[in-house]
Structures are given as C-alpha cells and as structure tokens.
C-alpha cells in the first residue's frame, strides 16, 4: 500500500479506490489460501497403527504418529532411555524414547507417539502423548483396535 502514497490522490476515483481495496484483499486472501494449502500438504503428520506401518512401507525418517497399545511386559528403562513395544494386536513395532514419559503411560494402555521410523525398522519417538485422564484411549487407537477386533474397553479403561 505504500506505493499509493506516491501517486497523485486526485486521480483516485471512488471506483478505483474500491478496486484497489478489493485487489489488496483478494491478493492477501489468495496468498493465505496458497500458504494454507502448501502447509497442509507438507506439514501434516499421518497417523499409523503398527499394521498400517508395515503394510504401507513408510520411508524411514518421515515424521509420523504411531498409535497402539503398549505391549505388556515390554517397557524397559535404563536411565532416561525408555524402550517399549507398540502393538495393535496384529503387528508390533519396537519404540524408543529418551526423556520422561507422561504420568499415565502404562503397559496395556493406549499410546500415541510422534517420531520417525529408523532404518532398522524400529521407531524413534520424539514425543509421547498421553491424556491426563486415566480412562483415556486415543480415538485413532480405539478405531484401529476396533477394526482388528482388539477393542476391549473394560480392559483399557480404569487401571
């Protein structure tokens, strides 16, 4: 809009002013739409269950979300490194996470981990999500478990 400061004001008829305003509005909206669409293409993170992950052959290093149940008896800690297995009843993936897991991270409960596959086929989590509610199971996890007939709410709810 700074250009207009140099133009003679007299020449600005009502119609031209309105066109200029609409032009700027349209330009910003178009740019914003382009921005949103590009960002949607590049920045979204796909959600996979362990079975999906094996079927789809996701490239190592690509940012994804992995959701499933933490398999009983697989959670091991040494210092700040956590190793656990995520399962959906069909397939299993070994996951690794460095840091402090959420309070409600439990074996046998639902988990969603953000991260990427490693070349060796294991999953390196950069972030582990768990809701602050003991009865929570992520919707995506519940859906994929339901598909596999592994959905047993009475087991996943409560402690």
């Amino acid at each position: 809009m700074s250009l207009q400061g140099t133009m003679p004001r007299r020449g600005w008829t009502r119609k031209r002013k309105r066109l200029a305003v609409i032009g700027v509005l349209g330009l910003v909206l178009a740019l914003a739409a382009a921005l949103v669409l590009t960002a949607l293409r590049d920045q979204i993170v796909f959600f996979y269950s362990p079975s999906d992950l094996l079927e789809r052959e996701v490239a190592p290093g690509q940012a994804i979300r992995l959701g499933g149940l933490v398999k009983d008896g697989t959670w091991e800690r040494s210092g700040d490194t956590n190793v656990f297995v995520v399962t959906d009843g069909g397939a299993e993936i070994a996951a690794r996470y460095v840091g402090i897991l959420p309070d409600l991270f439990r074996e046998g409960q639902g988990v969603v981990a953000e991260g990427a596959l490693q070349p060796d086929g294991s999953f390196q989590a950069t972030n582990v999500l768990a809701k602050h509610d003991e009865n929570y199971i992520p919707k995506e996890v519940a859906d994929s478990l339901r598909e596999r007939g592994e959905w047993r709410p009475e087991e996943t709810g409560g402690q």
Partner: protein, 657 residues
Amino acid sequence: MSIELGHFALILALAIATVSAVGGLALWRRGPRVAQFLQQSAILQFVLVACAFAALVRAFAQSDFSLALAVNHSHSLKPMIFKISGVWGNHEGSMVLWILILVLFGAMVAAFGRNLPRPLLSLVLATQSLLTAAFTAFTVFTSNPFERVFPPPFEGNDLNPVLQDIGLAIHPPLLYAGYVGFSVCFSFAVAALISGRIDAAWARWVRPWTMLSWLFLTLGIAMGSYWAYYELGWGGWWFWDPVENASFMPWLAGTALLHSAIVMEKRGALKIWTIFLAIITFSLSLLGTFLVRSGILTSVHTFASDPTRGLVILSILAVLIGGAFALFALRAPKLRAGGLFAPVSREGALILNNLFLSTAVGAVLVGTLYPLVLDALTGTTISVGEPFFNLTFSILMAPLLLVLPFGPLLAWKRADIVAAAQRLVAAGALAIFLAILISALGGLSISLAPLGLLLGFWVAFGAIMDIIDRGRFGKLPPRESLRRIIKLPRSTFATALGHFGVGITVLGIVSTTAWESEVVTTLNPGETTAIADYAIAFDDFNEVAGPNYSAERGIFTVTDHNGGERTLAAERRFYEASGTPTTEAAIATYGFSQLYLQLGEPQADTHVLRIWYKPYITLIWLGAILMAVAGVVSLTDRRKRVGAPAQSKARRATEAA
C-alpha cells in the same frame, strides 16, 4: 432439599427465558412495557440460575454424596477451594456455570441498557433469552446436574487430580466470561438485523461489551496456557491443540471485531462486516465451548467431555448459528454503506488488521477441522500439528505486526504514510539495533529469531512512540509535552498499552522458542548438574503425604551465576481416590526467565530429571495481562462508558428545557 430447589429454579429460569424469547421477538415493537418486562425477566433469570448454581456449590462444599455429580467429581478430603471448583470441573456443572454467565450478561444489559432505544433493548434481551432457553433446556433435559443417587455412597470418586489446581479453579470462569460475553455482541447483531437500525450509535453500545468479553477471554486463555505450562509438566505453553484453537479463534475474531467496531463508531463504515464479525465471534465461541466437548474432535487435554450428547448440542449450534446467518443474508444487503475513505487512512489500516486477523482465524479453523474432514471423506487419519500452525500463523501475523504501529498514527479518511513513517523512525531504528544486539549476544539458534525480535520490539516501541508523538516531545517544552500526554483520552493510552502488550508477548514467544535449553539426565541425591548459568544440586528425596494424595518429593538447590541460592521442590503425586499420578514441576523465576524442573519416576535408586531453561518466557503472559489491563483502561474511558452518550444527550435535553 436445596438440590431440589436448585433444580426447580433452573426449570423456572427455562420457562421464563422461553416466554421472554417468544414474547420479546413477537412484541418488540410494542414499546416500553415489553422492554420493561424483558428487563425484569432478565434479572429474574439471573437470580434463579444463581440459586441453582448456589445449590450445586453448597452440595459440593458439604460433600453431599446423595448428588450424583458430587459422587463422580468430588471427595470429602479435597481442600475446600477444589471442592468448589469441582462444580465446574465436569460437563453438567460447567453447563450451569456457562448459563449463569449468560444470564449475568443478560442482566447486565438490562441494568445498564436503560438508555438504549426500547425496541433495540427488547430485541437484544429477547435474543439473549432465546440463547438462555436453548442452553438451559439442553442442560435440564440431557445433562441434569441435580440427579440424586440412592443409597448415597460414603465417599466420592474425586476430581481428576490435574484439575485440582488453583489455576484451573479460575481458568474456566474467566474463559466462559469471555466466550459468553460475546453473546451480547451476537444479540446486538441479531437485534440490529431484525430492527434494521444499524448506525454509529449501535457500534458505541456494542464496543464496551466486546471489550469486556475480549479482556476476559484474553485473561482466560493466558491463564489456561500458564496452567498447562506448570501443571501438565510438559514444559510447553501452547500446543495448537483443538481445545486451545477453539479458544483462540474467538479471540482472534473478537480482536478483529474490537477494531472494526471502532471504524463503525467513528466513521459509520464497515457496518455489514462488523455485524458479520459479531455473529462469527460468538459462533466461534459456541464452537469453542462445544465442538471439542461433543467428542467430534479429540484433544489431549480436554476435560468434562461427553460425546453422547454431542449431536444434540451440535444441532442447537446449527440452528442458532444458521438462523443468525440466514437473517444476515436476508437483511444485510439492505444496509447502506457509509463513510468513504482513502486506502491509506486509519480505516484502511483497521481493514488490514481485520483482513489478517480473519485470515488467521480461517487458517486455524482449516487446520483444526481438516483432520476431521479428511477422515470423513477418505478415512485417512492425520494430525495437523504445530508445524502447520506455526508456519501459517506466523506468516500471517508478521505483516500485521509490521503495519500495526502505523495504525494509530494515521489520520481518519486520508492519511500521510510518509509522515507516519517519519514519526516511527526512532522506534524502528531502536528495534533493529536491539534485535541485532540480542541475536549477536544470544547466539543464533534459529534463523528467524532476529526477525521475530525485531517485530516484537517494533510493535512495543511503536506503541510508546504513539504516546510520545502525541505529546509532541522535542517540538514543545518537556513540561508542555507532559501536560499534553496527561490530558490524552484514556482510550489512547489503552490502545498504546494493548499494542505494547502484543509486542511484549511476541518478544516472550520469540526468545523462549529460540533460546530455550533443555537437559534430560539421571541424577541421585547428592549429585549436581547444570543448565544455562545455573547449577542444580539434588539435595534430598523423600516421601510426603498431602491431604488427599501421597507424593515423592525431590529437593533441589539452584545456584545462579551470582552465587544466590534457592531451594525448589519437585513432586510426583499419587492421588489415592482416583489412582492417578501427577507431576508437579518445580519452577524458579529469575527476572522474566524461568527454570523448570520435572522429576521422573524413580528406578533402581536413580532419578530421571528433565530441566528446561526458558528465557523471558513470562513475557508471554505478562503481555497478555497488559492487553487485559488496556481493556480495563479503555472501559474506564468516560466517552465509552455504557450508555454514557445517551445520558449526556438526555442531560442536554433537560438543560435546554
């Protein structure tokens, strides 16, 4: 007994609201008697809902476990404050709080709106009653908080432990006051569309309500962000989670409304757009309250959700929002456009503000709903996370922040951009200097940090320059300049302070994002570690008992670079009643920066410790508080006080007579 009285009061409020809504919308032309009835009805609705709410509070405070709601969400060992906050820590109770605030705003319109034209007042109160009736009916019929259980159990199931926190005791009331306050703007918009009376006076009446709601929403979001930061123990202050987006969208739209209403009041322009924004803002508030709660969108930190009633609430929203937009489509074309202005003018700047803010609303809305749409259409499950929002939102905000300082310096109708730029040279130079200096000293961790700092300083200094410029410092003797500044209207200070707050928040966001450091380590009592300029010694580890929990507590001593020492305690609590563990982070504030310690689960005699150093993070919330204070200052401006213009007109009339 009081439970039944409360239940009855709520049903009575529903009946009265229904009568007011139907009667008011049918008879609003009939003059002052109708308005008087609606005023009294609005106040009565408030009294009745307040009784209903008080009955719930009483039952929770006395741990009356014959009330189903108290059984599910309370516990006799809880501290009193959390017993009371437990009332709104669940779906049913929070609905009653929501309605209470709705009728409170209705009663306030009735009390302060004595100078409004009668037909407009009638229509506003009738619309407000319609909203009350809809949501009270929803509560009474599908989410009754007054249900009893028999036989009453001895003990309750406890409130979710992370909700047992002072921050969350006050966060929902603040947030709701913001959300629901916009209902007044909505009602005014609907009233204006029905009556066809839309002029500058309308904008003057709406502005204080917008400002009031906006400042509550600002505080509510800031409070929620700070709560999530210290209570959830993730060390983050904003996650672009659907719940947060849901509160952020009405805030963005409300901010736009605040600015477009100025144009409408001062210049009579942007009428249709302002009405549209008023409807949109409240619609987004409704979405904010209910979209996540309906279970359609999942969020990692929503509470009080109840998917079973989701469809009912979404149908109510569809009818209310759809109705308002249908009315808008029907009536808006008949409104006459007013106020001509050149592109470079105060109006033009405010339009740019609205353009970027509403585009940002659109981007956030797309990001929030896209996973839902994609899942419905293709069955692919995706998540749109922080990278999307950070990218789109910051790119949209950058130009807004860049032009922001120009706005207050431009004249109405037609302005000289060169003159405005000249007046901002000092602010720009200082901002560039500081951004370069800090980036050089702090080390560049991300390439965009200097740019962000530059924008933050630019907005903050630009706000100060606005005041200095109005005092004509340097052109007049300092004493004369000071006198001029003191005499400036309060709204000018409010503008400057609000914009200064925006700058401060930006600075906090940029510095904590760019220069945050984090250490994850294993430590035993007696050992030490270090982060930034601070040495942290793990002194002791012991077990303690709280009123309704047991905890493992780590005691730490932090030594800063000047040798000053502070003792901190980080805890892992275990709440027996619900069997839930929580993490209580230890936070030490140094100036505007914070040190954040999180204790992990103990294992084989060693402890995992996660420590963050967050430089200038408190500026984020401080800026939000400044914005809210600016709102208060603006509300105390005599010229904008509710009903004041009509009052002075009335006085002039009596003086003339």
